[in-house]
């Protein structure tokens, strides 16, 4: 169990990045998020809790349901907030290079 929560720690985990990518597009309930993964609801709840504690998620109540959505402002705290975006493209370009080398 992590004792200290920070934005870096939150985005270091691929599952949490995947969750952020989902709620960046639309507000979702914890149940709907968990539905996108094969892992247990408890595991996903734990990830949501960590993201929430770091304020990377905002939440809004609608009736009995709590909807989560991405809070991009919190990313300001990451000294190099472009790094995840750069990494995404680095991975893609690496893949492109690998595929084309095989095809050559």
């Amino acid at each position: 169990m992590e004792t200290r929560r920070d934005v870096f720690q939150a985005i270091a985990d691929p599952t949490r990045r995947a969750i952020l990518s989902l709620v960046a597009l639309e507000a979702m309930t914890a149940g709907a998020i968990a539905g996108k993964f094969d892992s247990t609801r408890q595991t996903i709840s734990k990830h949501i809790q960590i993201l929430n504690e770091c304020e990377l998620l905002n939440q809004t109540q609608s009736g009995r349901e709590i909807y989560y959505y991405f809070n991009p402002e919190k990313m300001e705290e990451v000294a190099d907030w472009l790094e995840p975006f750069r990494k995404l493209w680095e991975e893609r370009f690496n893949k492109l290079e690998t595929i084309m080398k095989k095809a050559e």
């Binding site: 985005i11 995947a18 990518s21 960046a24 975006f85 050559e104």
Partner: protein, 155 residues
């Protein structure tokens, strides 16, 4: 870690530049942006339509195993010069990110290496920051494709 991919997004501007040097001849690199089946492999999305020519258009779509649409993007190709340049727009369907204008410049370095410069203009500085902070939004299709791997590791 190898930092072959460089990114620059200055404060207060509405643009972003990504550059990358490839261990690939220029023609091979360019091919990865033109051949639909190759794009599908490295972008992790289906290519429903791609007219690689001036005033052509394109449409990408990613679905999950049940066929539910996870990601859709489309755009128009404004300029297409083989092995040199592509100018196109990109818009994600059902997402609040607006239309972005993309300039791709392909450059030969040596017979075996090449460079890509990807220059993207967003509608506003705020919108650019929103997209970049999200970081993964453009890669949402990729995130989905990787969900299964991630999930398997968790089990």
């Amino acid at each position: 870690m190898d930092r072959k991919t460089k990114i620059n997004a200055e404060d207060g501007t509405q643009e972003m530049v990504i550059t990358r040097e490839f261990d690939l001849p220029l023609e091979i690199l360019f091919k990865a942006y033109v051949e639909p089946d190759i794009i599908e492999q490295w972008m992790g999305t289906k290519v429903l339509k791609l007219e690689s020519k001036k005033h052509g258009s394109y449409r990408f779509e990613t679905t999950d195993a049940e066929g539910k649409v996870l990601f859709q993007a489309n755009g128009v190709i404004h300029e297409f010069i083989s092995n040199r340049k592509i100018i196109r727009t990109l818009e994600m369907d059902n997402a609040p990110f607006g239309v972005q204008l993309e300039f791709y410049e392909f450059e030969k370095l040596t017979n075996e290496t090449s460079k890509l410069k990807m220059h993207v203009l967003y509608e506003s500085s705020a919108l650019r920051n929103h997209v970049l902070k999200t970081g993964f939004v453009q890669g949402i299709n990729m995130a989905h494709n990787r969900l299964q791997d991630i999930v398997n590791k968790l089990k």
